[in-house]
């Protein structure tokens, strides 16, 4: 079962999580050339903060700033955990 948070609208991003054998981050972004690495860093740090290592994460980004990416991922993580319980 996968969960998602956010939206594919300007300045926002849509993040989807689903259980997986290992950690995988797939980044689609209108600013991937300029900020792809930064987006990946924020995602991986946030996941590490929750000790999440077995998940497939897909982000569809339309220019979200770091705080938005982090917030959307936090929401998705909580929704995933709520689903597990």
């Amino acid at each position: 079962m996968n969960v998602s948070a956010g939206s594919y609208e300007s300045n926002d991003c849509l993040i989807t999580l689903e259980p997986a054998a290992e950690l995988e981050c797939i980044i689609h972004s209108v600013v991937k050339e300029q900020f792809g690495e930064q987006i990946e860093l924020v995602l991986k740090q946030t996941l590490a903060g929750h000790n999440i290592t077995h998940v497939k994460l897909v982000i569809n980004d339309k220019g979200a700033l770091d705080y938005t990416i982090k917030a959307r991922l936090e929401t998705a993580i909580r929704r995933m955990r709520d689903l597990d319980e």
Binding site: V30, V31, E33, F35, K62, L65
Partner: protein, 468 residues
């Protein structure tokens, strides 16, 4: 005056004209995205397998897809234009031409045609209202588009001039925009396009709060610079923020009881309303952006169609914009030296071009760039723009939602503003403010396969286009 030969269909074209021999062909873009003439004419070139064409459309819009077919058939050698957007621009960003892309300005294009630096073999001129002598106007007919400004130089200088029309009248036209003495053929067709297509999404006044804020700051800036006085002249273009500035100025003018001498360039409903309200004496119209502008051009003698040369050719003694006080312009990027890019996006993809940008910035007493500081995480301000459309020496002010930067070369303006409440910042300070939100973007690798030139209006090559 003799009658002109009339051609009755596109199919007859190759019988009348040796289209294989005359490679340099031009079009105008007045019907913008509603134009069907360019596609229909080029269909003939495709059918006849004409090779090594050099296209000189004054601009290329998304609907001009026949160019794409010719590109794929390898029929095109070079393209010279002032603006391009859509699938053709996308394609050209990735696929080099055998020749090259040359990006010009509206004034520069007219200048080069008129002083014979550009040789046009055939000018195909979509014309809404034509008499049997080849005289034409743009503001009457079935498929009206208003001013024919961008086609005038082509008509005067091309070796062969073909008017394409869907309204051929019997009587002689007085005061035509295109003088029939230059015209060789009239091609009569069912339709030259759809008038509705001239209205694009950008010609609407913005209600976006960030745009509204920028417009407000710009209006304050114009006031504080002392430019808002009786008889001033102004050009706003048709961008949403620029139109909002126009609206704000209107309120100020009514409040102050002053009037403007002229507005120039692309004309919209907003400019027409001010003409009709007596707030401006004359509209010098090189291009109509909506139906209200066309209607006004038809009935109001103070709303005058002008050619691209009279508009912006630096060698034209009647050049209108040399008397321009204020111009409001957009930017996709601006750099530390105030160079502006409206030609490519930050990834190097072609998305536009100068049009009148660098012409008006060069001539206007004060040029003002209006733009959001950040668009989808991409900061407006860079150390160096991806492509220079207009040199920084012609750009005086930048207005964003987070402050105003004045080009240090304009110390006179900085002095005037020093005692005001305006949020003045250096361009680097503004960039730092943007980075607080976006973080610093990674520098993209510079592409190295040159595919075209950016010419300014004085014929100088000021930058190049590179294959993405």
């Amino acid at each position: 005056m003799t009658k002109k030969p009339i051609i009755f269909s596109y199919k007859q074209l190759p019988e009348e004209i040796d289209i294989h021999d005359f490679k340099n062909i031009s079009f105008h873009h007045h019907l913008r995205n509603g134009d069907t003439v360019l596609n229909n004419v080029l269909q003939i070139y495709e059918n006849e397998h004409v090779k090594k064409l050099n296209l000189f459309p004054s601009a290329i819009f998304p609907a001009y897809t026949k160019i794409l077919d010719l590109l794929k058939n390898n029929q095109i050698n070079g393209i010279t234009t002032n603006y391009m957007n859509g699938p053709v621009a996308d394609y050209l960003s990735h696929q080099p031409l055998p020749g090259k892309i040359t990006m010009q300005t509206h004034g520069g294009r007219a200048r080069r045609i008129l002083n014979n630096q550009t040789t046009l073999d055939i000018a195909y001129i979509a014309s809404p209202y034509v008499d049997p002598y080849g005289n034409a106007i743009g503001y009457k007919g079935k498929s009206v588009f208003g001013s024919m400004g961008y086609a005038i130089a082509d008509a005067q200088k091309a070796k062969i001039v073909v008017l394409i029309t869907d309204k051929l009248i019997d009587t002689k036209l007085e005061d035509p925009e295109i003088d029939g003495s230059y015209v060789d053929y009239i091609l009569q067709v069912d339709s030259i396009g759809d008038t509705q297509g001239i209205v694009s999404g950008t010609t609407q006044i913005t209600t976006n709060p960030i745009g509204v804020k920028i417009a407000k700051q710009t209006t304050s800036l114009i006031k504080e610079l002392g430019l808002l006085k009786n008889g001033f002249s102004f050009q706003s273009g048709a961008g949403g923020i620029s139109l909002r500035v126009t609206e704000n100025l209107k309120e100020e003018m009514v409040h102050l009881g002053i009037t403007a001498s002229f507005f120039s360039g692309g004309i919209t409903q907003y400019h027409v309303d001010m003409l009709e309200a007596g707030l401006v004496d004359k509209l010098y119209d090189v291009q109509c952006f909506d139906l209200a502008a066309i209607n006004s051009l038809r009935k109001n003698t103070n709303h005058m169609p002008i050619s691209a040369s009279v508009y912006a050719n630096p060698e034209d003694p009647n050049q209108v914009i040399k008397d321009l006080d204020i111009v409001i312009l957009g930017a996709t990027e601006i750099d530390y030296d105030f160079n502006v890019n409206v030609t490519t996006d930050s990834h190097g993809k072609i998305i536009g071009g100068s049009g009148g940008h660098s012409d008006t910035a060069s001539e206007s007493k004060v040029s003002i760039i209006v733009s959001p500081l950040i668009r989808s995480r991409i900061p407006l301000i860079k150390e160096r723009v991806t492509t220079i459309t207009t040199l920084g020496k012609h750009i005086d002010c930048l207005v964003t939602e987070r402050g105003i930067a004045i080009n240090p070369k304009r110390q006179d303006l900085i002095d005037k503003l020093s005692k005001t409440n305006l949020p003045l910042k250096t361009i680097k300070q503004l960039q730092e403010e943007a980075f607080k939100y976006t973080k610093q973007p990674k520098k993209l690798k510079k592409y190295d396969t040159m595919i075209g030139d950016i010419q300014d209006r004085t014929n100088k090559i000021i930058d190049h286009l590179y294959k993405k």
